[in-house]
Amino acid sequence: MEILLQQLINGLVQGSIYALVALGYTMVYGIMGLINFAHGEVVMIGTLVTISVAGLLLKLGLPVALAGGAGLLAAVAVCMALGWGLERIAYRPLRNAPRLTPLITAIGMSIVLQNVAMLVWGRNYLTFPAIAPKAQFEFAGASFTAVQVMIVLVSALTMAGLLVLIYRTRLGMAMRATSQNPQVASLMGVNVNRVIAAAFVIGSALGAVAGVMVGSYYEIAHYQMGFMLGLKAFTAAVLGGIGNLAGAMAGGVLLGIIEALGAGYIGDLTGGFLGSHYQDIFAFIVLIGVLMFRPSGLFGEKTGDRA
């Protein structure tokens, strides 16, 4: 029982991170139907920028909270600029290109960002500065850390903020309209270019926050870390029904919990044949299973054929 609770907590924490990253994928996909493969790399850059900025400030003797806050802000700023630049330079010229063209561009940008990161930060694993409190708590036999609490809280707050933005502001309304039908939206006076850019920028900001969370959770970072994370997060977005914000959040949390439970119990389930290093396959097996029975994801709209 304690183990179950422990796995649920771990899953919730990991899932919150997935959800934040998944939102970036789902916003861009919902508005322009593009799988932004480079989004995982944006998250990675967020983590690495925080390492540099917060690390430097700590070395200069600034208080932990200040250094951490500055690191987060720097990451958000850099990632927003990066998201904007990606859209403007790489994707916008391809709006009318064949469907696969922007996908290849996204893959190209992902390779570019990884290698830029390698040139700037090197090949080695970097230690994430201790910017989060180090306390540990016990609850019903399960233990969790202050960092875990912080991750869940920050993610929840960020997502709440996003929902307010999308459902309570003019920009949000414009974004929802564009995702329904860009042509009509533009006829109604929505500046579609701005809306798309906004989706990239906001998604990247969420990614930066996620990057800081990942860094403080695992206390280690690397120029290749964005890839698997991005893949999982995209899986989460599809799981929830891509293009659907609530779906991405639910899909992320669900995926985190499934993975944690899967990793915890796979040994028992298979009589010891498969061990916890199969953790990564759960995401994909669950995904394939869900899509077989609900082809539009758990919360996605049904898209029927029309004659």
Partner: protein, 356 residues
């Protein structure tokens, strides 16, 4: 067939044949390493044309294609190496690999091919990762794949006593191992080119194109879209399986590392960058994307030496950086690929004009 063999095309064909025969000997002047690079380029031509059936002809986005390559490679590795003490001949193993890969393709495709394009992409991507993770971990409790270490000492392709791994004298000419593989690969590549061409202009090829153009209309005239898509998927998988087997034999070594997602992405990039569905374009894409990184590998360091007097930037990462940028730039200026079929170029020009 004889129709298009007018003097000019006959001359062209003769020229191509001459170049193909001379190529491994010219490449050898730069060392056998270059012959191996050329071999890989042809292997990738084979692989990319296999994926072209899936992506270019049937319009299905497959991001896990390398999984089928992996299946073929491991089938070969396990059936012709000391790992299990089995040493089957290549002509027996390659078909087994093809059939098994095809089986995997059908097993994955039959429940998922009804999915929307992007969902299919992510499902195939997930499948590719699942295969890789299994290859990485199936060394315990029963050692099947030997885990991350991979399988070594894989038998080369051999016909009787004629081994493809060592040099031998043929008509007084010394032909190295890689050069033998070269001719074997060229023969296979020609075969797959012919198959691609024939498929494209067949009843099945037309059905694929119809599905790509308008799936509902295709259904309405009686095309069983699911089966026809599955056929493309299974064929692509079989070609992947064969290519994997040859890869195993050529390398003498396989490990899960060779089958990561970036490899799937690379093959897809070859198809799209060259010109989806257009066979010469796909060939160009495959050759470029194999050779370009190698040229960069050998070029980036020395050029820095010459220009700056020392190596400023790690050549390996600069090489990948340039590669990534090349992908982005080509897509920016040639959205339909470097060498698209005339129809696709026209389609694109028209959609552009409509939007203006």
């Amino acid at each position: 067939m004889a129709k298009w063999l007018n003097p000019r095309s006959a001359l062209g064909l003769a020229l191509i044949a001459a170049v193909l025969v001379a190529l491994p000997f010219v490449a050898a002047l730069g060392g056998q390493a270059w012959v191996r690079i050329v071999n890989f380029a042809i292997l990738y031509v084979f692989l990319a044309l296999g994926l072209n059936i899936v992506v270019g002809f049937a319009g299905l986005l497959d991001l896990g294609y390398i999984a089928f390559y992996a299946v073929g490679a491991y089938v070969y590795a396990l059936l012709a190496s000391p790992h299990f003490g089995l040493h089957l001949p290549f002509w027996a193993i390659l078909p087994i690999g093809a059939v098994l890969a095809c089986g995997f393709g059908v097993a994955l495709g039959s429940p998922t091919l009804k999915l929307r394009g992007d969902y299919l992409a992510i499902v195939t991507l997930g499948f590719g990762e699942i295969i890789r993770i299994f290859l990485n971990n199936l060394n315990a409790p029963v050692n099947i794949t030997n885990g991350a270490q991979g399988v070594t000492l894989i038998d080369p392709i051999a016909v009787g006593g004629f081994k493809f791994s060592a040099a031998s004298q043929i008509f007084g000419l010394t032909v190295s191992g890689p050069q033998k593989y070269y001719f074997f690969l060229v023969a296979l590549a020609l075969l797959v080119i012919v198959i691609n061409l024939r498929l494209q202009h067949s009843r099945i090829g037309r059905a694929w194109q119809a599905i790509r153009e308008d799936e509902i209309a295709a259904k309405a005239i009686g095309i069983n879209t699911r089966n026809i898509k599955l056929l493309a998927f299974a064929m692509g998988a079989s070609f992947g399986g064969i290519a994997g087997g040859i890869f195993s034999a050529m390398q003498g070594f396989v490990s899960p590392e060779s089958f990561s997602l970036i490899e799937s992405v690379m093959v897809l990039a070859m198809v799209v960058l060259g010109g989806m569905g257009h066979i010469p374009g796909v060939i160009l894409g495959a050759v470029l994307l194999t050779v370009l990184p190698e040229v960069l590998r050998y070029g980036v360091g020395p050029i820095q030496q010459v220009v700056f007097g020392k190596v400023l930037v790690d050549p390996e990462s600069l090489r990948m950086l340039i590669f990534g940028l090349a992908l982005v730039l080509v897509m920016r200026w040639k959205p339909a690929g470097l060498w698209p079929s005339p129809e696709r170029r026209r389609e694109l020009a028209e959609t552009r004009a409509e939007k203006l």
